[in-house]
Symmetry: C2
Subunit: 152 residues, 2 copies
Amino acid sequence: MLKFFTYNWQIRDEWLEWCRQLTEEDLLKNRIGGVGSFLYTIFHIIDVEYSWIRAIQGKDDVMIEFNDNNSLERVKFLSETFRREISIFLETLPVEFGDELITVPWDEAKYTRNDILHHIIAHEIHHIGQLSVWAREMNLKPVSVNYIGRKL
Amino acid sequence: MLKFFTYNWQIRDEWLEWCRQLTEEDLLKNRIGGVGSFLYTIFHIIDVEYSWIRAIQGKDDVMIEFNDNNSLERVKFLSETFRREISIFLETLPVEFGDELITVPWDEAKYTRNDILHHIIAHEIHHIGQLSVWAREMNLKPVSVNYIGRKL
Protein backbone atom coordinates (compact mmCIF):
# COMPACT_ATOMS: atom_id res chain seq x y z
CA MET A 1 0.00 0.00 0.00
CA LEU A 2 2.78 2.39 1.01
CA LYS A 3 4.63 1.71 -2.23
CA PHE A 4 1.63 2.89 -4.24
CA PHE A 5 1.70 6.19 -2.35
CA THR A 6 5.42 6.56 -3.08
CA TYR A 7 4.71 5.75 -6.74
CA ASN A 8 1.91 8.30 -6.98
CA TRP A 9 3.95 11.01 -5.30
CA GLN A 10 6.93 10.44 -7.55
CA ILE A 11 4.77 10.72 -10.66
CA ARG A 12 2.91 13.72 -9.26
CA ASP A 13 6.25 15.50 -8.78
CA GLU A 14 7.23 14.63 -12.33
CA TRP A 15 3.96 16.06 -13.66
CA LEU A 16 4.44 19.22 -11.61
CA GLU A 17 7.88 19.57 -13.23
CA TRP A 18 6.39 18.74 -16.63
CA CYS A 19 3.84 21.53 -16.18
CA ARG A 20 6.63 24.12 -16.06
CA GLN A 21 6.77 24.07 -19.85
CA LEU A 22 3.12 25.22 -20.10
CA THR A 23 1.97 28.81 -20.27
CA GLU A 24 -0.31 29.90 -17.43
CA GLU A 25 -3.17 29.85 -19.93
CA ASP A 26 -2.49 26.24 -20.93
CA LEU A 27 -2.01 25.22 -17.32
CA LEU A 28 -5.41 26.61 -16.31
CA LYS A 29 -7.32 25.97 -19.52
CA ASN A 30 -10.47 23.94 -18.94
CA ARG A 31 -10.17 20.68 -20.88
CA ILE A 32 -12.66 18.00 -21.84
CA GLY A 33 -13.01 15.10 -19.40
CA GLY A 34 -11.76 14.65 -15.87
CA VAL A 35 -12.08 17.61 -13.54
CA GLY A 36 -10.84 20.37 -15.87
CA SER A 37 -7.36 21.83 -16.31
CA PHE A 38 -3.91 20.33 -15.74
CA LEU A 39 -3.41 22.38 -12.59
CA TYR A 40 -6.88 21.83 -11.19
CA THR A 41 -6.49 18.06 -11.69
CA ILE A 42 -3.31 17.99 -9.61
CA PHE A 43 -4.87 20.28 -7.01
CA HIS A 44 -7.92 18.00 -6.87
CA ILE A 45 -5.74 14.89 -6.38
CA ILE A 46 -3.92 16.59 -3.49
CA ASP A 47 -7.13 17.88 -1.91
CA VAL A 48 -8.90 14.51 -2.13
CA GLU A 49 -5.92 12.60 -0.73
CA TYR A 50 -5.53 14.97 2.20
CA SER A 51 -9.24 15.01 3.03
CA TRP A 52 -9.49 11.22 3.11
CA ILE A 53 -6.30 10.81 5.12
CA ARG A 54 -7.58 13.32 7.68
CA ALA A 55 -10.92 11.51 7.78
CA ILE A 56 -9.19 8.20 8.46
CA GLN A 57 -7.53 9.85 11.43
CA GLY A 58 -10.82 11.29 12.68
CA LYS A 59 -9.64 14.83 11.99
CA ASP A 60 -11.87 17.61 10.64
CA ASP A 61 -11.86 18.30 6.91
CA VAL A 62 -9.79 21.32 5.89
CA MET A 63 -11.37 23.26 3.05
CA ILE A 64 -8.79 24.39 0.50
CA GLU A 65 -9.93 26.70 -2.28
CA PHE A 66 -8.43 26.39 -5.72
CA ASN A 67 -8.86 30.14 -6.27
CA ASP A 68 -6.40 30.76 -3.45
CA ASN A 69 -3.94 28.21 -4.85
CA ASN A 70 -4.12 28.42 -8.64
CA SER A 71 -0.41 28.62 -9.42
CA LEU A 72 2.12 25.85 -9.96
CA GLU A 73 4.13 27.03 -6.95
CA ARG A 74 1.13 27.01 -4.62
CA VAL A 75 -0.01 23.57 -5.75
CA LYS A 76 3.53 22.25 -5.31
CA PHE A 77 3.64 23.81 -1.86
CA LEU A 78 0.37 22.16 -0.85
CA SER A 79 1.54 18.82 -2.20
CA GLU A 80 4.77 18.94 -0.21
CA THR A 81 3.22 20.29 2.97
CA PHE A 82 0.43 17.72 3.13
CA ARG A 83 2.76 14.93 2.09
CA ARG A 84 5.00 15.44 5.11
CA GLU A 85 1.97 14.99 7.38
CA ILE A 86 0.61 12.05 5.39
CA SER A 87 4.00 10.30 5.30
CA ILE A 88 4.25 10.30 9.08
CA PHE A 89 0.76 8.85 9.32
CA LEU A 90 1.36 6.16 6.70
CA GLU A 91 4.66 5.07 8.23
CA THR A 92 2.92 4.23 11.50
CA LEU A 93 0.09 2.40 9.79
CA PRO A 94 -0.88 -1.08 10.99
CA VAL A 95 -0.53 -3.77 8.30
CA GLU A 96 -4.27 -4.32 8.34
CA PHE A 97 -6.85 -1.88 9.65
CA GLY A 98 -9.58 -4.44 10.02
CA ASP A 99 -13.08 -3.89 8.76
CA GLU A 100 -14.28 -1.22 11.18
CA LEU A 101 -16.50 1.27 9.35
CA ILE A 102 -15.85 4.97 9.75
CA THR A 103 -17.79 8.07 8.79
CA VAL A 104 -16.42 11.02 6.86
CA PRO A 105 -17.65 14.62 7.05
CA TRP A 106 -18.82 14.87 3.39
CA ASP A 107 -20.68 11.60 2.95
CA GLU A 108 -23.41 9.67 4.77
CA ALA A 109 -22.08 6.24 3.82
CA LYS A 110 -19.51 4.45 5.96
CA TYR A 111 -16.25 3.03 4.67
CA THR A 112 -13.37 0.95 6.00
CA ARG A 113 -9.98 2.66 6.33
CA ASN A 114 -8.53 0.02 4.08
CA ASP A 115 -10.99 0.80 1.30
CA ILE A 116 -10.30 4.51 1.69
CA LEU A 117 -6.56 3.94 1.16
CA HIS A 118 -7.32 1.89 -1.96
CA HIS A 119 -9.63 4.68 -3.12
CA ILE A 120 -6.98 7.39 -2.73
CA ILE A 121 -4.44 5.36 -4.70
CA ALA A 122 -6.77 4.51 -7.59
CA HIS A 123 -8.11 8.09 -7.66
CA GLU A 124 -4.69 9.59 -8.36
CA ILE A 125 -3.65 7.02 -10.98
CA HIS A 126 -6.97 7.52 -12.78
CA HIS A 127 -6.65 11.30 -13.03
CA ILE A 128 -2.99 11.08 -14.04
CA GLY A 129 -4.09 8.91 -16.95
CA GLN A 130 -6.29 11.78 -18.10
CA LEU A 131 -3.36 14.23 -18.06
CA SER A 132 -1.49 11.93 -20.44
CA VAL A 133 -4.23 12.23 -23.08
CA TRP A 134 -4.36 16.02 -22.78
CA ALA A 135 -0.56 16.15 -23.13
CA ARG A 136 -0.64 14.16 -26.39
CA GLU A 137 -3.45 16.37 -27.67
CA MET A 138 -1.00 19.27 -27.24
CA ASN A 139 1.70 17.28 -29.08
CA LEU A 140 3.66 16.95 -25.85
CA LYS A 141 5.20 13.76 -24.49
CA PRO A 142 3.51 12.86 -21.19
CA VAL A 143 5.36 11.73 -18.08
CA SER A 144 6.13 8.00 -18.17
CA VAL A 145 4.07 6.28 -15.49
CA ASN A 146 5.55 2.78 -15.61
CA TYR A 147 5.56 1.34 -12.14
CA ILE A 148 8.37 -1.11 -12.73
CA GLY A 149 11.81 0.26 -13.37
CA ARG A 150 11.28 3.07 -10.86
CA LYS A 151 13.24 3.43 -7.64
CA LEU A 152 10.46 3.33 -5.06
CA MET B 1 -3.58 -6.41 -3.68
CA LEU B 2 -6.32 -8.87 -4.62
CA LYS B 3 -8.98 -6.20 -4.08
CA PHE B 4 -7.33 -3.97 -6.68
CA PHE B 5 -7.60 -6.79 -9.21
CA THR B 6 -11.27 -7.25 -8.37
CA TYR B 7 -11.75 -3.48 -8.72
CA ASN B 8 -10.00 -3.36 -12.09
CA TRP B 9 -11.94 -6.32 -13.43
CA GLN B 10 -15.27 -4.89 -12.34
CA ILE B 11 -14.53 -1.60 -14.08
CA ARG B 12 -13.17 -3.36 -17.15
CA ASP B 13 -16.45 -5.27 -17.45
CA GLU B 14 -18.38 -2.03 -17.10
CA TRP B 15 -16.31 -0.43 -19.88
CA LEU B 16 -16.87 -3.46 -22.10
CA GLU B 17 -20.61 -3.04 -21.53
CA TRP B 18 -20.29 0.72 -22.09
CA CYS B 19 -18.60 0.05 -25.43
CA ARG B 20 -21.73 -1.65 -26.75
CA GLN B 21 -23.21 1.78 -27.50
CA LEU B 22 -20.35 2.58 -29.91
CA THR B 23 -20.35 1.85 -33.61
CA GLU B 24 -17.57 -0.47 -34.80
CA GLU B 25 -15.90 2.57 -36.34
CA ASP B 26 -15.90 4.50 -33.05
CA LEU B 27 -14.76 1.43 -31.13
CA LEU B 28 -11.73 0.97 -33.39
CA LYS B 29 -11.02 4.61 -34.22
CA ASN B 30 -7.45 5.59 -33.39
CA ARG B 31 -7.55 8.34 -30.76
CA ILE B 32 -4.95 10.76 -29.46
CA GLY B 33 -2.98 9.60 -26.41
CA GLY B 34 -2.71 6.22 -24.77
CA VAL B 35 -2.37 3.22 -27.05
CA GLY B 36 -5.06 4.08 -29.60
CA SER B 37 -8.70 3.07 -29.76
CA PHE B 38 -11.19 2.13 -27.04
CA LEU B 39 -11.04 -1.54 -28.00
CA TYR B 40 -7.28 -1.68 -28.45
CA THR B 41 -6.82 -0.09 -25.01
CA ILE B 42 -8.88 -2.80 -23.32
CA PHE B 43 -7.16 -5.50 -25.39
CA HIS B 44 -3.76 -4.05 -24.39
CA ILE B 45 -4.72 -4.06 -20.68
CA ILE B 46 -5.76 -7.72 -20.90
CA ASP B 47 -2.66 -8.71 -22.88
CA VAL B 48 -0.26 -6.93 -20.51
CA GLU B 49 -1.91 -8.36 -17.40
CA TYR B 50 -1.82 -11.90 -18.74
CA SER B 51 1.78 -11.66 -19.94
CA TRP B 52 3.04 -10.42 -16.58
CA ILE B 53 1.03 -12.96 -14.61
CA ARG B 54 2.42 -15.77 -16.77
CA ALA B 55 5.92 -14.36 -16.32
CA ILE B 56 5.51 -14.35 -12.54
CA GLN B 57 4.66 -18.02 -12.76
CA GLY B 58 7.67 -18.75 -14.97
CA LYS B 59 5.42 -19.60 -17.91
CA ASP B 60 6.17 -18.70 -21.55
CA ASP B 61 4.63 -15.56 -23.01
CA VAL B 62 1.62 -16.20 -25.22
CA MET B 63 1.47 -13.85 -28.18
CA ILE B 64 -2.04 -12.61 -28.83
CA GLU B 65 -2.64 -10.55 -31.97
CA PHE B 66 -5.15 -7.73 -31.92
CA ASN B 67 -5.98 -8.36 -35.57
CA ASP B 68 -7.31 -11.78 -34.62
CA ASN B 69 -9.33 -10.33 -31.73
CA ASN B 70 -10.60 -6.93 -32.84
CA SER B 71 -14.25 -7.29 -31.86
CA LEU B 72 -15.97 -6.55 -28.56
CA GLU B 73 -16.98 -10.19 -28.23
CA ARG B 74 -13.47 -11.49 -28.76
CA VAL B 75 -11.93 -9.02 -26.32
CA LYS B 76 -14.57 -9.93 -23.75
CA PHE B 77 -13.86 -13.61 -24.35
CA LEU B 78 -10.11 -13.10 -23.81
CA SER B 79 -10.76 -11.08 -20.67
CA GLU B 80 -12.96 -13.78 -19.17
CA THR B 81 -10.78 -16.68 -20.23
CA PHE B 82 -7.55 -15.25 -18.88
CA ARG B 83 -9.26 -13.99 -15.74
CA ARG B 84 -10.31 -17.50 -14.72
CA GLU B 85 -6.67 -18.60 -14.89
CA ILE B 86 -5.38 -15.44 -13.17
CA SER B 87 -7.97 -15.69 -10.37
CA ILE B 88 -6.84 -19.18 -9.44
CA PHE B 89 -3.24 -18.00 -9.33
CA LEU B 90 -4.01 -14.88 -7.28
CA GLU B 91 -6.11 -16.78 -4.76
CA THR B 92 -3.17 -18.99 -3.89
CA LEU B 93 -0.75 -16.07 -3.63
CA PRO B 94 1.46 -15.76 -0.57
CA VAL B 95 0.89 -12.51 1.39
CA GLU B 96 4.42 -11.38 0.53
CA PHE B 97 6.54 -12.72 -2.30
CA GLY B 98 9.78 -11.45 -0.88
CA ASP B 99 12.31 -9.58 -2.94
CA GLU B 100 13.53 -12.32 -5.22
CA LEU B 101 14.19 -10.90 -8.71
CA ILE B 102 12.78 -12.68 -11.72
CA THR B 103 13.35 -12.31 -15.44
CA VAL B 104 10.62 -11.90 -18.06
CA PRO B 105 10.83 -12.93 -21.72
CA TRP B 106 10.49 -9.40 -23.18
CA ASP B 107 12.87 -7.41 -20.99
CA GLU B 108 16.48 -7.67 -19.83
CA ALA B 109 15.87 -6.05 -16.45
CA LYS B 110 14.82 -8.09 -13.44
CA TYR B 111 11.82 -7.32 -11.25
CA THR B 112 10.28 -8.60 -8.05
CA ARG B 113 6.92 -10.37 -8.30
CA ASN B 114 5.52 -7.85 -5.88
CA ASP B 115 6.51 -4.92 -8.10
CA ILE B 116 5.04 -6.69 -11.12
CA LEU B 117 1.66 -7.02 -9.38
CA HIS B 118 1.76 -3.32 -8.50
CA HIS B 119 2.65 -2.57 -12.12
CA ILE B 120 -0.29 -4.54 -13.52
CA ILE B 121 -2.73 -2.76 -11.21
CA ALA B 122 -1.47 0.77 -11.94
CA HIS B 123 -1.24 0.01 -15.66
CA GLU B 124 -4.95 -0.78 -15.93
CA ILE B 125 -6.14 2.16 -13.84
CA HIS B 126 -3.97 4.51 -15.90
CA HIS B 127 -5.35 3.40 -19.26
CA ILE B 128 -8.92 3.41 -17.97
CA GLY B 129 -8.41 7.07 -17.05
CA GLN B 130 -7.63 7.73 -20.70
CA LEU B 131 -10.89 6.11 -21.84
CA SER B 132 -12.80 8.52 -19.62
CA VAL B 133 -11.39 11.55 -21.48
CA TRP B 134 -12.18 10.05 -24.88
CA ALA B 135 -15.73 9.31 -23.71
CA ARG B 136 -16.31 12.93 -22.67
CA GLU B 137 -14.85 14.11 -25.98
CA MET B 138 -17.66 12.12 -27.63
CA ASN B 139 -20.21 13.71 -25.27
CA LEU B 140 -20.70 10.37 -23.53
CA LYS B 141 -20.74 9.79 -19.79
CA PRO B 142 -17.80 7.57 -18.83
CA VAL B 143 -18.02 4.62 -16.44
CA SER B 144 -17.74 5.74 -12.80
CA VAL B 145 -14.48 4.43 -11.39
CA ASN B 146 -14.90 5.32 -7.73
CA TYR B 147 -13.27 2.63 -5.63
CA ILE B 148 -15.35 3.23 -2.54
CA GLY B 149 -19.03 2.44 -2.67
CA ARG B 150 -18.39 -0.63 -4.84
CA LYS B 151 -19.08 -4.17 -3.76
CA LEU B 152 -15.64 -5.74 -4.10
